[in-house]
Subunit: 201 residues, 2 copies
């Protein structure tokens, strides 16, 4: 009985994830999710009180998956700075190219959709996931010998977010490739922060 219940719950979560991913949060209804899961709206509501609750459950699960993915990437990524950055942005470019319906970071998309609702619980989950990614990056940069890794992790995050937005806007992955070059420049510069004096000969 327990297992049956868990299975149905999982079916609803999968359908909700798929629906949110396809059409965004606002344009997805409990009806759509029910249809996709082949369950009645009534059944969906017996598992989740509202679309907001369902969204929170989906995001929590997606956060876990994202954390696992970072762990997985972390185990395989090159340790040297350039190799690491090439690998990160290369994966981003590969992901962006998988489908014409690619819609960028799901967490960013959600925050943008709920831009007028700063107190929405889903936004706290998205914020936590971005902070975790930034902390992970900072740790990797520190290991690669980058000075001020916290500041540089922020730079790399900013470039990744911006490149995802512009790739989505223009349908052009060159923004991601250019961002990789900029990320290298910014992190490499980090090892010598003092402004270079011009040499008088």
């Amino acid at each position: 009985m327990r297992r049956k219940t868990d299975q149905i719950r999982q079916r609803i979560l999968d359908a909700a994830y798929e629906s949110f991913w396809r059409s965004g949060f606002a344009r997805t209804s409990i009806d759509t999710i029910g249809t996709r899961a082949k369950l009645t709206k009534r059944t969906v509501y017996s598992y989740f009180r509202s679309k907001d609750d369902l969204l929170a459950a989906v995001l929590n699960r997606y956060s876990e998956l994202a954390a696992q993915r970072l762990q997985h990437i972390g185990d395989r990524i090159p340790v040297d700075l350039d190799g690491m950055i090439d690998s990160l942005f290369g994966q981003l470019a590969g992901w962006a190219g998988t489908t014409p319906r690619w819609s960028g970071s799901g967490f960013t998309r959600l925050v943008v959709e709920l831009a007028d609702l700063p107190g929405h619980p889903a936004r706290a989950i998205a914020r936590g996931q971005k902070a975790a990614t930034e902390a992970w990056l900072s740790e990797r940069l520190a290991r690669a010998g980058v000075s001020l890794p916290t500041e540089r992790a922020r730079d790399v995050m900013t470039l990744m977010e911006g490149a995802m937005s512009l790739t989505l806007i223009h349908g052009d992955k060159r923004y991601i490739l250019a961002a990789a070059v900029s990320a290298k420049t910014l992190t490499r510069n980090a090892t010598s922060k003092a402004p270079r004096r011009r040499r008088t000969r």
Copy 2:
């Protein structure tokens, strides 16, 4: 009569702009727009055939305003590189701080909301506006003596977009201030592209 018609049209456009800005496109209905404009839904439909048409009209108008704003900024912005970048990102930070409901770039938000609809006419308008901003930036950077201004304009755009997303996600404007520093580093570096060799003493 003509004037009356124009006035009503303008009232609908203003109400639609305000509604889209407040709640995003997907969560705004023609009903909401009618109520805000103090007009019946029927009247709204007699001016615009659909919410999509209304969105296109709003965006076209907003694009014109954005072009005027760039012109205005361009007339006042410092010509030297650092002054220009401080001014651009300073304006961005000021804008982001005006209201807790600040939701980032309206054009970006729209593209994200319509992420699964790459052929939507509104996306072409948003794309055009971003391309125009990037071209404007490139021209300003060229005037400031930056080499490869097209590439560096892309970098600055990427940093601005990323900083807006992360400021929205974290409610923290430091992403914008940090992006300004990175923008200076990247554009300054542009004058000496060759990799620096380490000096053997």
